[in-house]
Amino acid sequence: MDGDVSERVPASVDLKEQYESSGVREVLDELDRELIGLAPVKQRIRETAALLLVDRARREMGLAHETPTLHMSFTGNPGTGKTTVALKMAGLLHRLGYVRKGHLVSVTRDDLVGQYIGHTAPKTKEVLKKAMGGVLFIDEAYYLYKPDNERDYGQEAIEILLQVMENNRDDLVVIMAGYADRMDRFFAANPGFRSRIAHHIEFPDYTDEELGRISETMLEVQGYRFDEAGRAAMEEYIRLRRAQPHFANARSIRNALDRARLRQANRLFEGDGPVDAATLSTISEADIRPSRVFSGGLDIDGSRKRDEP
């Protein structure tokens, strides 16, 4: 329609001004504010944002034409904030104009791979259609590839994904996430993915101190707070919990707090007399100490019991 209007090439681009006006700064500030810790991740995202901003400026001035490869992999242990960061990343890419809509479609193997022959391709395509114009987040991507079963339908999903990642680079960005070591093996077995993914971001585990701050923020959002002894108990809980199996960083903390709230409610319910607002919103030592973590820990699979004579 406007083909006859000659494109005006700007002589210079003010990157600082673009940083402000595109809303990238907003997203990065939000990231800083809302996510505790994760310094290397924030650093990488800042670098990626700078790269994309410069690239956009280059394209405006006619120095580059190709859409850069934006597919990413997020590696890290469970509960380290991969999904949350992916959500922010979608917002960032949207503000920079690399994806048109900026929504996040989060899927796992079950959403992509079918149950029988001929079921996988339509299923994968359905998901891809929904993700168009946004970000497709594949959690635990390595489950797509099962080397011990060569007739596994995951391979079909992988092929469709690779094709779309190559041909529809303007339309969607794929982020694959999972444990670091298994992702490495996955990429080694599927070199097609490795070459199509430009940004590898590693998510470190949270430190005890960071998890402490996270627990307080989580409570604050729900309108609770720790008292002095409660906070000390929580710190000890974090220290003990880390050494026990199935530790999932922030997710473990959230579950622990949910159980603490349950115990608090029971404690107040069984106590006598009226309660005031402060009591209703305080998590104290008595709500955290009864946790199994303090009495030798969770024994989910019963392995410890079997070891005992």
């Binding site: 048109r100 809509k101 929504h103 339509p122 259609k129 929904k130 168009m132 114009g133 946004g134």
Partner: protein, 130 residues
């Protein structure tokens, strides 16, 4: 004979960018998008073949354009239309429907006239392939 059915059919055929823009409009209204095709464009033929399922939860027109591309590959010499369905209670109907693909050679219609019950007339239209 050029078939004129649905929206925009008196305009020149929409190109892909224009179709995409129309689909964006449909999605902005949160209507479901369906792709249908037929080789029999008689006005009384309301039941066209469905191409896949109607698409209920897309965010971007690209998803529809991909399906349309596939449909054109398979049925390039048919009529293809895009329907927009509004599921809001009280409407529950097709809000928009337009042709996005025509065969290279379009069929024409012949009118049959029949005298019945004295001087009464009955008309029917028959599709004639060219």
């Amino acid at each position: 004979m050029r078939i004129t059915q649905g929206c925009f059919s008196f305009l020149p055929d929409l190109d892909d960018a224009q179709i995409s823009a129309q689909v964006e409009y449909i999605l902005s209204k949160e209507w479901a998008v369906g792709i249908e095709y037929t080789d029999e464009p008689h006005p009384r033929n309301t039941y066209w073949e469905m191409w896949g399922h109607p698409m209920f939860d897309l965010k971007d027109a690209k998803g529809v354009m991909m399906e349309l591309e596939e449909c054109r590959k398979a049925h390039g010499d048919s009529y293809i239309r895009i329907n927009a369905f509004d599921s809001t209670r009280g409407w529950e109907t097709v809000m928009m429907s337009f042709i996005v693909n025509r065969p290279a050679q379009e069929p024409s219609f012949r009118t049959w006239r029949q005298e019945v019950d004295g001087r009464s007339m009955r008309y029917t239209h028959e599709l004639v392939a060219r």
